[in-house]
């Protein structure tokens, strides 16, 4: 199954209530799969092709504000269009899932894979001080698994969650273990679980307002402080990463998503030559696994981040190690994908011999 199809099947099985999207390469299989599967018959899930990415993310806002599990998917240029809505969703503290199957940019760029939306995904993306929880899958199985995880995290924190994938993971086919069918929540369960959701004012109860507007600067500051406290809690509780061969590593590769798959092969090639290489793969890009990188900085002789961009995550790695060890970046971009041999060569020249 393709990565994009795994997302779609996982959405139905996670008990998602609604998907709103707009076609864009390389992720159109998500809505195509959903439409073909008739989820309105399988679970009652709504699937709607919107007139634009802007409309799609705002449909997500409307459904999410009703306490429903709503999601959208797109690729880089479309995600740029969604940023207005994402900022409002973050400001109004609504839970939802946004999938970005990243392609090369800037502008219309290319339809080939890239990781050049790292900054946009992890530093906010739209206007205002906000963060998304960002999950970076490195396999089709993780595309599947992260859908339910994303909804769970989104509702735990009342915050949008982004799955930051790329054209490689979205398009490639792998075996996937399909999980159980979770039921969609009933309207009664939503009323019980989500006291903030607009479901129609109950007699004798206060009305519910979903808004990101607070004109009074003192109250807006309090709202921002509440958001910041939430992001801090995420940093304390939700960091996820995978550490491979880090125990005896002298040199560390740091990579996420499909780059981590390539780095795994590069690490094997290096180990076969006797080089003690480890791999740290951040799974959450926000919250970023800074602590483990800070610890590893005292154990290794150098780190190389490998990204399909001009050097974005490398800034977070440098912040985490705080000058304790040399950190370099190797990247291909514009839709080009590095080979394992290329990565090993970069490690040998930039870190080991450098």
């Amino acid at each position: 199954m393709k990565g994009n199809e795994a997302i779609a099947e996982a959405a139905i099985r996670a008990g998602a209530d609604a998907y709103f999207g707009y076609p864009i390469t390389p992720q159109s299989e998500v809505i195509e799969y959903l439409m073909a599967e008739k989820p309105h018959e399988r679970t009652g899930m709504v699937v709607l092709q919107a007139e634009s990415e802007v409309a799609a993310i705002n449909m997500v806002y409307g459904a999410a504000a009703c306490g429903k599990r709503a999601m959208t998917s797109s690729s880089s240029p479309g995600i740029s269009l969604k940023q207005e809505g994402i900022s409002y969703i973050a400001g109004a503290e609504l839970p939802c899932l946004i999938l970005n199957v990243v392609r090369g940019g800037p502008g219309l760029g290319t339809i080939q894979p890239s990781q050049s939306d790292y900054f946009q995904a992890t530093k906010g993306g739209g206007h205002g001080d906000y963060r998304l929880i960002v999950l970076a899958p490195a396999s089709v199985q993780e595309m599947y698994d992260f859908v339910k995880l994303s909804f769970d995290l989104a509702f735990k924190y009342r915050n949008p969650v982004m799955i930051l994938s790329d054209g490689v993971i979205g398009q490639m086919m792998e075996k996937v273990e399909i999980g159980e069918q979770y039921p969609r929540l009933t309207n009664e369960q939503i009323d019980e679980l989500y006291p903030w959701a607009t479901t129609g004012k109950k007699p004798g109860k206060d009305r519910r307002i979903i808004t990101s507007l607070e004109l009074d600067p003192g109250r807006q500051e309090q709202h921002n402080l509440k958001l910041q406290a939430k992001y801090k809690k995420m940093q304390e509780e939700e960091v996820r990463y995978e550490a491979l061969n880090c125990e005896d590593a002298e040199y560390l590769l740091v990579a996420f998503g499909s780059s981590a798959r390539i780095c795994q092969k590069a690490m094997d090639l290096g180990r076969a030559k006797g080089l003690k290489i480890g791999l740290l793969r951040p799974i959450t890009l926000f919250p970023f696994p800074s602590k483990i990188l800070h610890e590893l900085a005292t154990k290794v002789k150098g780190m190389l981040t490998v990204e399909m961009n001009a050097g974005q995550m490398v800034e977070d790695v440098r912040l985490a190690v705080c000058g304790k060890v040399k950190v370099e970046h190797y990247g291909r971009f514009g839709g080009m994908i590095p080979s394992p041999a290329e990565v090993l060569h970069a490690l040998e020249t930039k870190i080991i011999g450098g």
Binding site: N58, C66, K68, T198, T199, G200, R207, I209, T211
Partner: protein
Amino acid sequence: MEQNFDLPEIHTPENLVYTKTKVLTDNVMHYCPGCGHGTVHRLIAEVIDEMGIQDQVIGVAPVGCSVLAYNYFDIDMQEAAHGRAPALATGIKRVFPEKFVFTYQGDGDLAAIGTAETIHACNRGENITIIFINNGIYGMTGGQMAPTTLPGMPTSTSPYGRDVKMMGNPLKITELVAMLPGTYFVTRQAVHTPALVRKTKKAIRMAFENQKLNRGVSFVEIVSNCNSGWKLTPVQAIKWLEENMLPFYPLGDLKVNGEMVSK
């Protein structure tokens, strides 16, 4: 606090001919004196009250003068980004098809930045109610030119009057959405006389009742005045509205029960 002005008690049953509908909150409205927003808010609230659907309504507020509309209605509401209210309403209605969903939007929100969302929600035939306040100007931001500003009409961004050769023509979006197969009821009303207020209330009632039929969008335009933006007193503004706005935006039904009304 109890205040004693030594006035006779006038709140007696025989004097009580008019009260605030319970679907409006006690919050003091921020609208300028003479503005039509307050009247339309009240009509919507009365319709919700009379239909007994306060617990089944979800409203969507826009960006513009009525950005704080959710402070005044005692119902569940969502605040949309500028122009996106019909997309929010689509999302709400699709997951809650049994609820009553309405948007409340001004001309800049609905007919400029939100044109795509308006037209496509109408064309899809979303089973929602759209209340559209057209005063021909951007009120909240201080009187700039709107998509519905009349030819020759001065605003702060068309200080010598709207030059249609340079700035384009006013958009008759209500006529436009009436042409779409997804609209079921399209009408243009006004609220500057008591008779028109009563007619507008009937139109709003029909626009909400139609949601029970699941036949598509019910779209109610209300031509209103903006005394502050037009730089006129309320009385002058009503005269100006009648002499200038209504000839360009004639009142009446454009589409009823899915059929165009022939003029």
